[in-house]
Amino acid sequence: MSLVSVRSGTSRPLLRLSLSSRQSEALTGILMASPWILGFIIFIAGPMLISLYLSFTRWDLFTEPRWIGLRNFEQLFLRDAKFLLSLKVTTIYAFVSVPLQVSLGLVLANLLNQKIRLLGFFRTVYYLPSVIGGIAVAVMFRWIFGTQFGLINSMLATFGIQGPSWLGDPDLVLVSFILMSMWGAGASMLIYLGALQGIPSELYEAADVDGAGNLARFLRITVPMMTPVIFFNMIMGIITALQEFVLPFIMTRGGPANSSTFLVLYLYRNAFELFKMGYASAIAWIIFIYIMVLTVFIIRSSSMWVYYEGSLKGR
């Protein structure tokens, strides 16, 4: 724009030109963004409002929705033991499996960040589980966790140990899911590896000059420099884990005794097997609010433990 003004000598046509070109830029911009704007209205904002409305109704999809106020929520929190169990197991799964995955991913990334051979090979192998993800993993592990002929119990049996019923024991099924999730810990490893390599080497050199040991280097440089990345992945991981559906749906159908009925599976059952659309919408909003509160809480608390490079400059 400024180039144009230099060229055209007089100021009057310039003003008109720059005004109309700015308008045309704005118009084109909105036009080009319109697929997303439309999509946002049709597929996100509209449905959100409707599901909020539905959460206050009783609706079987075939008759008219009936307004029942807060009764869905009352039912869920005060009388629906299955829902409370589902809230509990989903929370345990997310808050145990994700920190474990993050820790394992960090350890792997630190090991791979040395000058080692076969770096590409290890990186590929560790990333592989998240490439196939979801249903394929569920199918694989349903077979591996089998009580009678599953791989784990067959191996245990060769040592004369009778393996437990990994997916059939209400007390064990969550442990099995968490163990399985560890198998996919390599995905975050790639991110941490990238972040580790992004730490300026001057920091370590300065620490060497000051005579810092390995542990001090790790605790005083590596950990603080990594916290923003760890923090981000932890939140995203927990949000994803709270929405887990395929694993319990394929591996246990939520059993035994609902001990692996995760929230989204319970929502799916209510909506698409029992056609309780209002009730399911209430569950959806509880999941949504749960995730929102969690996200806001973690972001608020982050200043206490996340180190951003900018904050140092501020001091």
């Binding site: 697929p35 597929f43 490439v131 249903i135 394929a136 002929f149 060769t158 198998w183 990345v229 959806a284």
Partner: protein, 292 residues
């Protein structure tokens, strides 16, 4: 400093030794991890090649005897697997095209054009990335059902044309921001329209980022499960991911050898694309993950 320098030679051989031991232990740990990652794959392949009466063999055998290659043709013929494969290719192809077209156009607008409300809407777009899908699931289902789209592929392929997956807008925008704005200005001087700049300059310069987006999205779409489960009821309409479920037996038990063969066929495209496009995966992680 002098003190430190004097200390070093004396420690030399000692540190070298512990250095060697440390390296060795790192390799041992990494290799053990790699083996653990490999075992489920190996067991899946092994099962897929077993005769049905050898599935319960004890102790478990890694290399089946006899090796039954026929499990693969059997798995794809007892179910309409070929049809499922084509269905999935169609859905993935169209949806990926839609996502790349819409996401790149929207990303261009957010990255390089100035319009009122842009920054606010971009924040909204970022927020939608955190939004759990469940909260829109039921009304969206009701809408598509009302339109008569149940048992068609439209619920799976129409939303991508509206950049429904904001993550890809974000990814492409991050990349477009790195292209010098001078290029746009020069093209404007030559009388190019914004759309021409997008088509002739931005897109050709962003091939790597577009490849990252296309690969990430198509892999996601190939694995997608909940949407096909809700919208597709007729078996011949299934995608492969949904079809896999039909191998889980209801009354007579699961035919594990066939199910594992089917699972391998399902995984092959994912793994092949991953191997051939590894650098794009790593770039995808770098563009988005670290930016967090």
């Amino acid at each position: 400093m002098a003190e430190r320098a004097a200390r070093l030679p004396a420690q030399g051989s000692d540190t070298q030794w512990s250095e060697q031991a440390k390296r060795l232990s790192i390799y041992v740990v990494l290799l053990a991890g790699a083996v653990i990652v490999f075992i489920p794959f190996a067991w899946t392949l092994s099962t897929a090649l077993k005769a049905p009466d050898r599935l319960a063999e004890f102790p478990p055998r890694w290399i089946p005897d006899p090796i039954v290659w026929d499990n693969f043709p059997e798995a794809v013929t007892i179910k309409p697997f070929g049809r499922w494969f084509l269905n999935t290719l169609f859905v993935v192809g169209v949806a990926t095209t839609g996502t790349i077209m819409s996401a790149s156009l929207v990303a261009y607008s957010f990255a390089r054009l100035r319009w009122p409300g842009r920054n606010l809407l971009f924040l909204v777009l970022l927020a939608t990335m955190m939004l759990p899908d469940q909260v829109t699931l039921i009304p969206t289902f009701v809408l598509f059902r009302h339109l008569g789209w149940v048992n068609t592929y439209l619920p799976l392929i129409a939303p991508p044309f509206f950049a429904r997956n904001a993550f890809f807008v974000f990814l492409l925008r991050q990349f477009f921001m790195t292209i010098p704005l001078d290029l746009d200005d020069a093209a404007r001087m030559d009388g190019a329209s914004y759309f021409q700049i997008y088509l002739r300059i931005i897109l050709p310069m962003s091939k790597p980022a577009l490849a990252v987006a296309a690969i990430m999205f198509s892999q996601f779409k190939w694995k997608e499960f909940l949407a096909p489960l809700i919208y597709l009821n007729k078996q011949e309409m299934f995608t492969v991911s949904l079809g896999l479920r039909t191998f889980i037996g209801e009354s007579w038990g699961t035919e594990w050898h066939l199910m594992m063969a089917a699972n391998i066929i399902f995984m092959i495209p994912l793994i092949l694309i991953f191997f051939f496009a590894q650098k794009y995966f790593i770039q995808g992680v770098v563009i988005t993950g670290v930016k967090g």
